[in-house]
Amino acid sequence: MTQSRWARRAATDAAMTWLCGLAVAVTLVPLVSLLWMVVARGASALSWSFLTSLPKPVGEVGGGVGNGIIGSALLLGLAATIGLPVGIGAGLFLAARGDGTAGRTVRFLAEILAGVPSVVAGLAVYALLVRPMHRFSALAGSLALAILMVPMLARGTEETVRMVPRDLFEASLGLGVAEWKSGLLIVARTAAGGITTAVCLALARAAGETAPLLFTALGNQFWNLRPDQPTASLPVLIFNYAVSPYPDWQKQAWGAALLLLVLVGVLNAAARLATRGRFAGGGR
């Protein structure tokens, strides 16, 4: 009697463990196969000239994605310049004053913005900036990316800052430190690890966006570092090369995808690193 009950429990346990293992495997298969595919196909495209040269004319073998690498760096740099102050600022505001009417309004708007499909952000920038200025530009592209980053930053910042014990803030106030100084130097600084995570994740998200760049940054087969000129980017290059009929371009698309994957991986790893021991005092 007891023995059969034990056996049944053991069998159930084994079966459930096995099923959980299966679920893990099913989850991992697409991820691992995707990584494997990108690495396997992309690695062969990587070379010094792939990283540093400009694309060849259509149908010719060779050339590289140097313009896309520089373009993506330019776009992300500008997007961070525009997006970080706004997004982190909004997050700090929400954490400090988020319960009033203004705070609720801002949070509501940020949530709506977070739900906006990225292609719509691109369209909006096209209508607001590209058409009136009569030019496609890196600035327009990075503005579209910044629009996508702001809600992520605001939410991430607010959540981390809210986790900082109120006591710290009050202790600072009690010592006679001004409110804004306490907020910035005590609370925000304590939450720096979490904010950094939000920054890295937002950058990683922006780095992989294609749709908002198509009709804002357009593309450029030459080097460009000017914010007021059209510029290439890795995601748009991948998009164009992947649908092309040329085997060499398809190979380069895989290579560029690998670069993008490495970039996003590094940003995510940096985000992890930054959150380790979140409240151990990120500033010391």
Binding site: T52, T196, V199, N220, W223, S244, G283
Partner: protein, 356 residues
């Protein structure tokens, strides 16, 4: 805070291997960027031409993005680019919105009917068969109507997968212009233009996309600019022309299609050369036009553009044939030259005293 900096520093390091060594020795001033967008039909040629033109005029770089003729027309009309490229002339309606736009033909191209059949047979197609395929009336490759004009060819029992363009396309405009001329059913049901309501088929983005789908889908039939078919080793159909010959797309047969077009070219140079009467003429061909505003405003870009166009219709023509585009007939060159001379900067003609 330090972590934030570390994170940004890591991010910065991974993203910016600055290409200081790879940048070609730049002339003292940064070259001016002239931006254009449009036709994918002419992209293989233009990307070669612009890559070579750097040596002719190192002061300028022509950045060309192949987003489709439809989008090219839209962007030049909105003045978001400095020039557009289209294989379909602007419609009267489009021209009314931007009456100052010039059509400057730079080259002729053939729209090849390419297919993906396992044995790569050389096929012949009549206008009716082509319309039948794209109307969805012929659904298998071994249809007796196809077999009737292809004696001795073993046709596979594959379903026909029709591929067309998904974006606004000048290639589509040339192709449907032809079908509307040769098939009353087509003219009535589908009509012609840069984007039409396709009865059957799946869409591809750009000539690149259609060629890509053709290569990956057995049984597929699609229309692409000849260079895309040849570069990708896709077999192309010989078509029956008005003179009753079977003609494969080639530089010679495309040139033949344009002969006679020069004489009947209207003053604004908007012309269709599909289904021409001439002997040896391939029936689905067309001019690609560069679209620019007659009145240029940028003191650097305007002259650069005019100089490039002048070079393109003269010296630049020799780039066409190796890529299977047909150079302009001399009579057309003369007409385009007059148009290029009419481009002005602040009201004054740009190319004064330019050698003929």
């Amino acid at each position: 805070m330090r972590r934030l900096l570390v994170c940004l520093a890591i991010a910065a390091c991974t993203r910016t291997p600055l290409p200081s060594r790879a940048v070609p020795a730049a002339p003292s001033a940064t070259p001016t960027l002239v931006n254009g967008a449009g036709s994918t039909f002419v992209f293989p040629l233009l990307s070669k031409v612009f890559s070579d033109y750097v040596r002719v005029d190192p002061r300028v770089r022509f950045n060309y993005q192949s987003i489709g003729s439809g989008a090219g027309i839209r962007q030049i009309t909105d003045r978001t680019v400095d020039f557009g490229a289209s294989d379909a002339p602007l419609t009267d309606e489009q021209l009314a919105k931007a009456p100052d736009i010039l059509h400057l033909p730079i080259v002729l191209g053939a729209v090849a009917v390419a297919y993906n059949l396992p044995s790569k047979p050389a096929l012949r197609l009549t206008p009716d068969l082509l319309a039948g395929l794209y109307l969805g009336e012929i659904t298998r490759w071994n249809d007796p109507r196809i077999a009737a004009v292809n004696p001795g060819v073993s046709l596979p029992s594959l379903p026909v997968a029709v591929i067309h363009r998904a974006d606004g396309s000048g290639t589509t405009a040339i192709f449907t212009d032809y079908l509307a001329k040769v098939s009353p059913t087509w003219a009535q049901k589908v009509r012609h233009g840069t984007a039409v309501r396709w009865p059957v088929g799946i869409g591809g983005k750009g000539n690149e996309g259609v060629a890509g789908q053709l290569m990956s889908l057995p049984g597929a039939v699609g229309y692409v600019e000849l260079a895309y078919a040849v570069q990708n080793k896709l077999p192309v159909a010989s078509l029956a022309n008005r003179a009753g010959e079977w003609i494969a797309p080639s530089v010679a047969s495309t040139t033949a299609a344009a002969t006679g077009a020069a004489a009947s070219m209207p003053d604004d140079l908007r012309v269709s050369v599909t289904d021409p009467p001439g002997v040896g003429a391939y029936p689905i061909a067309g001019f690609t036009d560069i679209l620019v505003f007659r009145g240029q405003t940028d003191p650097v870009k305007g002259p650069a553009l005019a100089r490039f166009l002048w070079w393109e219709i003269h010296d630049g023509q020799r780039e066409a044939e190796p890529l299977l585009y047909a150079p302009l007939p001399p009579a057309v060159v003369a007409k385009v030259a007059v148009k290029i001379r009419s481009i002005t900067l602040a009201g004054k003609p740009i190319l004064v005293g330019q050698p003929e």
